[in-house]
């Protein structure tokens, strides 16, 4: 059992460190890598909670596919060195403050909760009929196709919609690349209008 505790702390510190890295590192590339580390730590924690399938999905899908996609985009756009302390200091200073407040409140809620089950290691999952079935892919799969069929199908539909949407958003618009910078959001708002319209007024 000491192994479990050591593993918990190692994975926990890894997850926390990855989280801090995401927020504090300047280069977005490093932030993505830091998140990957965080996801791996989280996968170990899932394993400790008997969620095998979920841990695997986390590593393969999340860390593997989604983060790689992220890396592609970061590589395409390029990293910009943005200072962590922006001009609008007022807004950003309060962020950590309120976030800390939420953390404190949640901790109080969890620790001082009257729910006794929180002080245990969880329910007894070693049932005689399906021992070692908790959290296995089979059990999850069975639930997905029986009790949770509707969410399952809806989620897949959502995926389709998201994919189409992303394609529409990011496609190249023909001819727009050569058009002059005249209207719309390509001009910062506070610039005076171009000289042509001034002449019309005169």
């Amino acid at each position: 059992m000491w192994f479990e505790q050591v593993l918990f702390f190692v994975a926990g510190i890894g997850a926390l460190g990855g989280a801090l890295g995401v927020v504090l590192l300047q280069n977005p590339f490093y932030s993505v890598l830091s998140l990957v580390g965080h996801l791996l730590g989280l996968a170990v924690l899932f394993l400790l909670l008997n969620a095998e399938f979920l841990a695997a999905a986390q590593v393969v899908v999340y860390a593997g596919a989604v983060m790689v996609l992220y890396l592609f985009v970061v590589a395409y756009i390029g990293g910009a060195d943005v200072p962590l302390r922006p001009e609008s200091g007022g807004v950003a200073m309060f962020g950590p403050l309120f976030a800390g407040a939420i953390a404190v409140e949640l901790c109080i809620a969890f620790i001082a909760s009257g729910l006794q089950a929180l002080d245990t290691q969880g329910a007894d999952i070693a049932r005689p009929e399906n021992a070692d079935q908790f959290g296995t892919p089979g059990a999850i799969g069975e639930l997905l196709l029986t009790d949770f069929l509707l969410p399952f199908e809806a989620a897949s539909f959502l995926l389709l919609v998201a994919a189409v949407g992303a394609v529409v958003l990011a496609r190249r618009r023909r001819g727009l690349e050569d058009a002059p910078v005249s209207t719309g959001p390509t001009r910062p708002r506070d610039e005076p209008p171009p000289a042509e319209t001034l002449e019309v007024r005169v």
Partner: protein, 669 residues
């Protein structure tokens, strides 16, 4: 039909005429509204005659008939009915009013044709006649005051008839404001009387006045003085006279009807009607007599120098009504009312003639620009001269008998009244002078271009201008129409002026001293309760008074002839020598300036202050501005949240979650 039924008919015809014209003016073509209005008044006149005939059928002591239509207002122990009183006085007034109104309507049919507001004019005129008849037929104070107010309203409507003319509008407002002073005084007087006598019916009040009030009782004197204020406002006596000369802004027939023959005589009627009260309060009667006398002298002096033709006649009206007021106040009721009747004849005639001359002058009213019209306008010349003779009191005209009878009565009563009589003779001299000043300046002398044009048969036309200020106008609705009319060319005008000229000559037959006293006997049932009933002057005294009066009028006419015909430069030289006096008189003794300083300016200052400080700054600035300002500031704050910064929004979300969590945390513990 009974006399009172005729009385209701007298009221109904003008009201019906007004409604027909006012509601149907779009469908009545051409001059038809004019003829309808004239016919309505003619029927009213016939009904008055019917009332007269029927009234005379009653025995002498039953000639004050009251008829109630419905209860107007009733409370605890008081009720006022819509009721008319048909007695000799009211029938007399009805005859004069409806008769002269009929002739003036007839005159207006031609005079006002071409004006864009023709139907409106006749609707107003009929409304006026209805109101005046309501006033004279009223049987109680309530209906009297209603008629009084209507007459004031009709006067305002008709003075500002040409409503796009700013001078006319201001004149109408001036007349209305001064009339309202009289209205208020009359209402307060009614209250004072109601306080002691629980009824407002005339007959009840007159019978009970002796018991309720003692001789010269303070409250009664106050009530009578207030009645006098009402009478002075309506009849344009000092000090409430300033509106009448300005009221000449209205069309000439309006001046003839309202401001000569009928409305301004309402004050005289009022005093005559209230004679039981005035005889119980001799102080008030004396006030009336003195004011009447002062007015007649004042107006006479101003009429001698004014150059606008209509305004001379206006001041003459003020002066003659001074005679009537004086007569009614000294209990010469028959004489005063007789003068009312003859004055209606010749004053209306003078105004009609003036209208004809003004038409020949294409709207100009300034006598300085007139002259020598006698060959171009013979009919107008003759009738105008007849009117002037009657006004001056030339022997054997109607005016001769009526005016001098009042003065004779005054002499007979002696003391204070004899002094007033002397002023009366002075006024008569001035009257004769200025009456023929008009005649000689307008009709004799060199013929002006307009007169020569008219002799050639062609009516002069000029650009339409405001006769007082010279401002250019147009001839669309709200201004006078493009046509001008003279009596020689319009038969309705001739048909109206002819009978009046005849009456101005022979109208005196109803009261020739020693020969006939038809009027006196007719009015007796109303006035027999007067204490002064038997103090009428003897025939001899009256004849003496007539002789003196006739001499004075001939002297006045002679002086006018000397100044204006024989030695034409006399007037100009006199004006130079007495320049200060001339200025004083031409400015009407500076009454307008005095009232301007005393009343108009302070009120205007208060109004300006209210507008600037109270309305603009306080109400709009503080109260309204404050309310909107608070909202504006609040919304500016609220708008600051909409920064567009995503991070700010996210922060707010976070804040909300933290707060919610805190809430649940606290609640569950």
């Amino acid at each position: 039909m009974s006399a009172t039924s005729y009385g209701w008919l007298v009221l109904a015809f003008p009201l019906a005429g007004m409604l027909i014209i006012a509601l149907g003016w779009r469908v009545l073509p051409g001059r038809l509204p004019g003829w309808i209005g004239t016919a309505a008044i003619f029927l009213s006149f016939l009904a008055s005659i019917g009332a007269l005939v029927d009234l005379q059928d009653h025995p002498e002591d039953e000639r004050q008939l009251v008829d109630r239509a419905w209860t107007y207002a009733a409370s605890a122990d008081f009720s006022a009915d819509v009721a008319i009183l048909v007695d000799p006085l009211s029938v007399f007034m009805c005859l004069v009013v409806s008769g002269v109104s009929f002739l003036i309507h007839l005159y207006s049919v031609a005079y006002m044709s071409g004006d864009r507001g023709y139907a409106r004019y006749f609707a107003y005129l009929n409304f006026f006649v209805f109101s005046m008849l309501l006033l004279v037929l009223a049987a109680n104070f309530v209906i009297l005051i209603i008629g009084w107010a209507f007459v004031g309203a009709a006067s305002y409507l008709l003075i500002s008839y040409w409503y796009r003319r700013e001078t006319a509008v201001r004149a109408g407002i001036k007349a209305f404001v001064i009339n309202v002073i009289g209205d208020v005084a009359l209402v307060v007087a009614a209250f004072l009387i109601l306080d002691k006598i629980p009824s407002l019916d005339f007959l009840t009040v007159f019978e009970g006045a002796g018991a309720a009030f003692g001789q010269n009782d303070g409250m009664l004197v106050a009530a009578c003085v207030l009645i006098l204020v009402g009478a002075f406002a309506k009849s344009a006596q000092l000090p409430l006279h300033t509106w009448l000369p300005d009221a000449m802004e209205g069309p000439t027939p309006v001046s003839a009807l309202i401001h000569a023959a009928t409305m301004v005589t309402a004050g005289v009627y009022l005093i005559a009607r209230m004679h039981p009260l005035f005889e119980l309060a001799p102080t008030a009667a004396d006030v009336g007599a003195i004011v009447g006398c002062a007015t007649l002298v004042f107006a006479g002096t101003v009429a001698v120098v004014v150059t606008d033709l209509k305004r001379v006649i206006a001041y003459s009206t003020i002066s003659q009504i001074g005679y009537m007021v004086m007569g009614a106040s000294i209990a010469a009721y028959g004489a005063g009312l007789f003068h009312l009747m003859t004055h209606a004849f010749f004053k209306a005639l003078l105004f009609m003639g003036a209208g004809s001359v003004i038409g020949a002058m294409a709207g100009i009213q300034d006598m300085d620009r007139m002259g020598g019209f006698r060959r171009a306008m013979p009919f107008t010349f003759v009738t105008f001269t007849i009117g002037a003779l009657a006004l001056a009191g030339f022997p054997l005209t109607a005016g001769f008998f009526s005016k001098d009878e009042i003065i004779a009565f005054a002499i007979n009563r002696g003391d204070l009244y004899a002094v007033l009589a002397i002023f009366g003779y002075i006024g008569a001299f001035l009257t004769a002078f200025y009456a023929f000043r008009m005649v000689f300046r307008v009709f004799l002398g060199e013929a002006v271009p307009e007169a020569r044009e008219l002799e050639g048969g062609h009516l002069a036309h000029g650009d339409p201008v405001n006769p007082m200020t010279g401002e250019p106008e147009d001839t669309d609705v709200g201004f006078p129409g493009p046509e001008h009319h003279v009596a020689e060319q319009a038969w309705p005008m001739k048909a109206a002026m002819g009978p009046l000229a005849l009456l101005a000559i022979v109208g005196g037959v109803v009261a020739i001293p020693g020969v006939s006293d038809i009027l006196e006997k007719f009015l007796e049932p109303t006035f027999e309760d007067s204490r002064f009933h038997d103090t009428a002057p003897t025939t001899g005294a009256e004849v003496w008074g007539l002789v003196v009066g006739g001499l004075i009028s001939i002297l006045g006419i002679g002086l006018a002839w000397w100044v204006y015909v024989r030695k034409p430069g006399t007037a100009a030289r006199a004006r130079e020598r007495f320049a200060w006096l001339h200025r004083f008189l031409v400015n009407k003794w500076y009454f307008d300036e005095l009232y301007d300083a005393m009343f108009v300016r302070p009120v205007a200052t208060i109004g300006g202050f209210s507008k600037r400080v109270i309305e603009t700054e306080f109400v709009q600035g503080t109260i309204v501005g404050g309310a909107t300002g608070v909202v504006r500031v609040g919304s500016t704050f609220a708008r600051a949240i909409q920064t567009g910064y995503l991070r700010a929004y996210a922060l707010l979300l976070l804040l909300g979650v933290a707060a919610l969590t805190l809430y649940f945390l606290l609640n569950s513990s």
